[in-house]
């Protein structure tokens, strides 16, 4: 079965996706110049998707970062170039897993809002079919019947909605998260 089980997708959605903005911000600093951050994210997800279905990851954050660090180290070795900074950044990273903290609860709410904004920003024909599917639980077939368009058209709009959504979520991230190095600059208002 090449496809994620529902439970696994659920796990990804609650345990991994919310970590992505932070991971991405870190990667932007850690990844050697000229390499695409998104490549590493996709590869890290591939590793996680390859886990046996019954594998239980106790510390998803630590796990995700460890995997990603290894991928970068591997890439750095492969390139046979050691960019200044990359390795120290990798060594610097510390991951503290502290159970469910108030931050995590608040940030999980932020995550839902982020999603809300990303969906709201979809072009309206796509958004309509997307919302009918996801919020009203209608099948693609039923949506086609209700809107009086072909199933193929529904599928096209749905694909477009999802593609845009993937982009919007990333756009939000780069907008919302200043780089950690900027975050560290502290100045009086």
């Amino acid at each position: 079965m090449p496809v994620l089980t529902k439970a696994r997708a659920q796990w990804f959605a609650t345990a991994i996706l919310p970590l992505e903005p932070q991971l991405r911000a870190w990667l932007r600093r850690a990844v050697p110049h000229g390499l695409d951050v998104n490549d590493f994210i996709q590869e890290a997800y591939a590793k996680l998707a390859g886990l046996p279905p019954n594998a239980e990851i106790k510390y998803p954050k630590a796990y995700l970062y460890t995997i990603t660090k290894r991928l970068i180290a591997h890439e750095v070795r492969r390139l046979r170039v050691i960019p200044i900074g990359a390795l120290t950044e990798i060594a610097e990273l510390e991951v503290l897993e502290s159970g469910f903290t108030p931050e995590q609860i608040v940030s999980s709410r932020q995550e839902v809002k982020r999603l809300h904004r990303a969906i709201s920003a979809l072009p309206s024909p796509c958004r309509t079919v997307f919302m009918m599917r996801k919020f009203d639980d209608m099948s693609q077939k039923a949506i086609a019947a209700q809107l009086g368009i072909s199933e193929n058209a529904v599928e096209k709009r749905m694909s477009r909605a999802l593609r845009k959504l993937v982009q919007n979520m990333q756009l939000e991230e780069s907008e919302k998260r200043p780089l950690a190095s900027q975050r560290r600059v502290v100045r009086l208002a």
């Binding site: 994620l4 990804f12 469910f100 903290t101 208002a189």
Partner: protein, 324 residues
């Protein structure tokens, strides 16, 4: 030429939609070939599938046409404003302590990227999301917290003689000993989520209606048009706070003592150069792993600034050297 990550994301999106409507045998084989051809394909598919499942969680906001009309529903273009905003500091106003029965405290988390923890005089804790503001008034018979804007998580110390009431515009939330989060969208639209115990929610302007009772794990979205049925408790979504791993609580420690405490937990050292600053006493609550938030808060309180050289966070008196 290597396929770009965003091209892969697009294809993965198409596959997720096809999987959702059901694959034909031919497609199933094509999908398998696609997944075999590059390890990133498998990751992108997993990620988009997760997002597909994840999207259902936005359902709570999708009611009553909000999604369609929301002015917030536009992505702002990337702006330089963020750089400015990112450098603004959190401010903690020292909470009034002691025996006084009537106190008033304002707490603001300015538009920085950090989250602010404050412990109140009665032991209750408030976690403020960036850009949020509350004012706390302790009266003889009740503890009153006004959420002026934004979002805050409350962990309420038990005291059945003085109920803890949060005002967010017209909406009121009452708790005795419990934890909950209030997100003020506007004067009349509020989202409440309970993580522990039970709370009552009502509209002040409809005081005669019985309050709505919410139990741990449920959330409710209140708009001028009405109130959604509270969601069923969902602990996968809203974990109850457990333990306080790696939190440093400062109840009147001096800054010097507090810095020593952070330095036990972190490699980046907090250094306070001025003995007068080091002798100041502070109140607050921080992630032990986040000394930067602590020094930023201290700097804002004491007219100091922070120099960061990666090894050390140095708190120095006076304004920072000008740098735009």
């Amino acid at each position: 030429m290597r396929e770009t990550a965003s091209a892969i994301d697009s294809k993965a999106s198409d596959w997720v939609v096809r999987i959702d409507r059901g694959l034909t045998n031919v497609e199933r084989k094509a999908l398998e070939r696609w997944l075999e051809s590059d390890v990133r394909h498998r990751g992108a598919l997993a990620r988009v599938q997760a997002l597909w499942v994840h999207a259902e969680r936005a359902r709570v906001f999708a009611r009553k046409g909000e999604m369609l009309d929301s002015p917030a529903g536009r992505l702002r273009p990337r702006s330089l404003a963020w750089l400015a905003v990112a450098s603004v500091v959190l401010i903690i106003v020292t909470a009034f302590y002691g025996l006084s029965r009537y106190t008033r405290t304002d707490i603001t988390a300015s538009a920085s990227n950090e989250i602010v923890h404050v412990q109140l005089g009665d032991g209750s804790r408030v976690t403020l999301q960036k850009g949020s503001r509350v004012s706390v008034e302790y009266r003889l018979l009740k503890r009153l917290v006004r959420l002026e804007s934004g979002e805050a998580l409350f962990d309420v110390a038990k005291n059945s003689h003085r109920p803890f009431i949060v005002e967010a515009g017209d909406i009121r939330v009452r708790a005795v000993g419990t934890a909950f989060d209030v997100d003020r969208w506007s004067d009349s639209t509020v989202d409440v989520l309970v993580t522990k115990g039970t709370v009552d929610v009502w509209r002040q302007s409809k005081g005669s209606d019985p309050p709505l009772r919410l139990v741990a794990g449920s959330r409710v979205h209140i708009t001028p048009l009405g109130t959604d049925r509270p969601s069923e408790p969902q602990f996968a979504d809203v974990p109850a706070p457990t333990g306080d791993a790696a939190v440093i609580e400062l109840n009147g420690l001096t800054l010097g003592q507090a810095a020593a405490e952070f330095n036990r937990h972190n490699r980046q050292t907090v250094v306070i150069s001025d003995p007068r600053i080091a002798a100041q006493r502070v109140v607050g609550r921080f992630q032990a792993s986040d000394p930067a938030a602590f020094v930023a808060a201290a700097a804002a309180m004491l007219d100091a600034h922070v120099r960061n050289d990666d090894q050390r966070l140095i708190l120095q008196p006076g304004l920072p050297p000008t740098k735009k």
